[in-house]
Amino acid sequence: MSFTEDQITRYSRHILLPEVGGKGQKKLSQAKVFVVGAGGLGCPVAYYLGAAGIGTIGLIDSDVVDLSNLQRQVLHHTPDVGRPKTLSAKEKIQALNPDVQVNTYEERLTAQNARELINQYDVVIDGVDNFPAKFLINDACYMENKPLVHGGILRFEGRVMTIVPNESACYRCIFKNPPPPGVVPTCQEAGIIGVVAGIIGTIQATEAVKLILKIGQPLTDRLLDFDARTTTFREIRVKQNPSCTLCGPSASITELIDYDEPEACAL
């Protein structure tokens, strides 16, 4: 595949970078990224990945746009209220960059469909709002051997970590199991500063681009915590946990688990 004049112009600021160049841009255009959730994190992630010329973006979300989403879910506009988030997001990404193929799945990620969907992509982004789904994505990515960029946000804070199966610590190396339902507040209950979703989401998108281009050092074995109140990042070193029930030597998890789940901050 070769680029058209327009594409060379569109991606010129990428192509100028020695670490990217025409070859790197081609890698991006052939890459497939699966974004789970088209909300606070999924919107900035998918928007920047679309702008970057990622060839295929898969978007999965079962929700429709709510007015309370618009303070942070930047792909959804006022006239989109009531429309499926996947459709709304797809339109904006393709208006920005018609080169991008956007596959939409208007459903929830479950133990039944997760592995089959994730298997079709090169990199996975966690943009979900609840722990059962975060554990499901972590486990499915490990089983399908796909790199995952985990993200989480709450109130004024956010967190990112990149997980490369069998090479770096996974989510379960840190958190063994989801917390008991209802004890950890959700964005819906506790609130979220909208821009924090943008900060964390764009870091996730950066990690995806780096993984595809194989440049720099991925955010593996490091948990990056951001606090908007003080504008500070804190990096916590983590490592593969020998007693991890998913990726440790005596792992006990061999199948995906659908934890019972209350709605988190979906709206």
């Binding site: 999924g42 975060k134 709450l154 063994k176 964005c187 983590v238």
Partner: protein, 66 residues
């Protein structure tokens, strides 16, 4: 003893990780604890003795995304 907890130096009268959680009124179910970059299993929090200048990280669940 002097400990560094989430990057901040603190002086606490404690001997185990569980003591620290109790002192700070933190529910052990809601936090992952790392001592000197080693994750501590929840069932071992009470058995993990601390020593002067240990570095603790309390990692709280952060579940939002949408």
């Amino acid at each position: 003893m002097q400990l560094t907890i989430n990057g901040k130096v603190e002086n606490l009268n404690v001997s185990t990780v569980l003591d620290v959680l109790k002192t700070k009124d933190i529910d052990p179910q809601l936090v992952a604890v790392e001592v000197n970059t080693q994750m501590i299993d929840q069932e071992n929090l009470g058995a993990t003795a601390l020593k002067e200048d240990d570095k603790l990280e309390f990692l709280f669940f952060m579940g939002g995304g949408a």
